[in-house]
Amino acid sequence: MIKFLLKGLMRDRSRSLFPVLIAGTGAFLTVFLYSWIQGAIGDLIQSSAQFDTGHVKIMTRAYRELSDQIPNDLALLGVESLLEQLRSNEKEMVWTPRTRFGGLLDIPDERGETRAQGPVMGLAADLLNPSSPEIKILNLNNALVRGHLPREKNEILISEEFARRLGVTIGETATLISSTMNGAMAMHNFTVAGTVHFGITSLDKGAIIADISDVQYALDMPDAAGEIVGYSKDMLYDDEAMLELTKKFNDRFSKEDDEFSPVMLSLSQQNGLGEYLGFASALGGIIVVIFVFVMSIVVWNSGLINGIRRYGEIGVRLAMGEPNGSLYRWMIFESIVTGFVGSILGTLVGLGASYYLQFKGIDFGSVLQKSTVLISSVVRARVTGWSYAIGFFPGLIASVVGTIFAGIGIYRRQTSQLFKELEV
């Protein structure tokens, strides 16, 4: 009997192909959309962690208040001793000092007069120290386009696009005009060691990366740094662990009545990234709920149409003595089979499309020309473990829920009327 019914299911396209297509489309859209948004949000969080927030960041309380303005006059002092304490107390983390700064980069001609000039965003990181993790964290080896990474004092990296705009070549002098920690004008000569492409529009427009000791000298910041960033050794962000670390540090070091005491913030406590993280984790659920709801209505509707089309078949089966419950359960079983097959197909297609965009990505560089957000201009999908499973929720649940509603009509058929209806 089961074999007979399964054959019927396979041969009758309206009972198999269309429900499978509906479930498959839902599963595909769910998997693809989920992976795409995971990729976009993941990129934003990863770029922010790499270049700005770290997994945790330490700054003075006063600096935190105005951090958008990069107030280096409020920078951390006694950085070496603080780093020493952090490295001995929090061994599961990697700690590194950084200073962000703004200013003008001025390229001289042969007479020392200005040949080209442009506003610049600078990042000072520990580049010359061989044990520093910065080259890996900032992914500088992969970002290098021309020249080499800084090897000597006063060597800098400059973004490729900015270098081309200024017409500066490798080995040329570039003068940084900025402000010292005391607010005085600072001028310092650097040598362009190489050019880099970060794939982040706001950085590629005009950024330099210099060694922190050179910038400490240039900006008159001895033993000072704007920020100290910390990363977990496996480079995976664990919000709960970072929040715990933040609390532990702040309880020990941060004093409310001292605006220059250090304060630690986790990634989720900076730049509204907590909301993004919350959104990213809630996203799977949101997408599933939306698709289950929409597809249930679609499947319910197609079930109702099917019910009318299969009016005779259901009538015959009821007339032959098949109980209502058995028929109802069989229809649900059918929907589980079609939902399952559809989910597998939809998930496979969705994963294929997501993997393609994970490697290929879509370049939004032209739209992000004026962007100041640290987000990669090439947005990629990201396939996670959840991407493999998420398509089954709408695929299966919607098919079953839709059939449950559509199949209720079976109980409304009156056995006494069946033969009369069948005669017609």
């Binding site: 020392g112 003068t175 402000s179 005391n182 607010g183 005085a184 001028m187 008159d220």
Partner: protein, 253 residues
């Protein structure tokens, strides 16, 4: 009838006098006269001075010593003498243009645009302040609004309004020493009326028939810190200054 007319005139004069707003006594000089006398004290054809600038920031105090050569309104040259980090840095102003040179970079950089609003050596004074026309009567109209006492010295209260709108400080309020014609206190305002800077002169001295501030404090009220104190260590008016000083070549010398 004649008595009646005289009586009516007397009543009229009294009423008009009573209705007039309270103001400075009739013998007080006008605002413009006071500005001119301030200019006579401060402005000279040329001057050479050595001064110290004590910058009291939130996180410490720095002292910067400089020698300046000033000719008329348009030319000024400053060489920083200490501390070691600033030593040898030079600044040249010719008319509306400003250049700076630092020995560590050997670069002559023109300071223009938004850079003019930056602080001069981290002090409470900006490059824009440094560029301002030193003769007040060229930029401002003045009106005496009352009298007050500052540190026991009677002062005219003067309200200055810019003649043109493209100035750094649209209005200023001066407390001018009645005897020496030195503004002992100044409040500088933006066009919207917001107080931006205050200047307090703590000590004046007489040199060649003019009163000149020896010690004064500038305070940028938008900045944290206790202000920047200027101390004139020595000043010579109307001395011969070689013309080559005011050239870009002298920045590198």
């Amino acid at each position: 009838m004649r008595k009646l007319i005289i009586f009516a005139l007397l009543i009229n004069v009294c009423v008009l006098h009573a209705a007039a707003p309270p103001g400075p006594p009739s013998e007080a000089p006008s605002g413009e006269e006071i500005l001119e006398r301030i200019d006579n004290n401060f402005y000279a054809e040329n001057r050479v001075s050595i001064s110290s600038m004590i910058i009291r920031g939130v996180r410490g105090t720095r002292t910067i010593k400089a020698k300046s050569w000033v000719q008329g309104m348009d030319k000024a040259f400053t060489e920083y003498l200490s501390p070691a980090r600033e030593k040898g840095t030079k600044m040249l102003k010719i008319k509306g243009e400003l250049w700076t040179w630092s020995p560590s970079t050997d670069r002559i950089i023109r300071i223009a645009g938004h850079m003019l609003r930056q602080s001069l050596m981290g002090s409470d004074v900006s490059y824009e302040d440094f560029m301002e026309d030193p003769e007040l009567s060229n930029i401002y109209n003045a009106r005496v609004t009352g009298e007050e006492t500052i540190d026991g010295r009677p002062c005219y209260l003067l309200e200055l309004k810019a003649k043109k709108s493209e100035v750094s400080y649209y209005s200023k309020k001066f407390w001018v020493d009645k005897e020496r014609y030195v503004p002992l206190r100044q409040d500088w305002f933006a066009k919207a009326g917001k107080l931006l800077k205050t200047v307090v002169i703590h000590e004046v001295f007489k040199v060649e028939n003019r009163w000149y501030p020896r010690r004064m404090t500038f305070r940028d009220v938008l900045k944290k810190g206790s202000g920047t104190e200027f101390i004139i260590e020595s000043i010579d008016f109307n001395v011969e200054i070689p013309e080559h000083i005011f050239s870009k070549a002298s920045l590198r010398r």
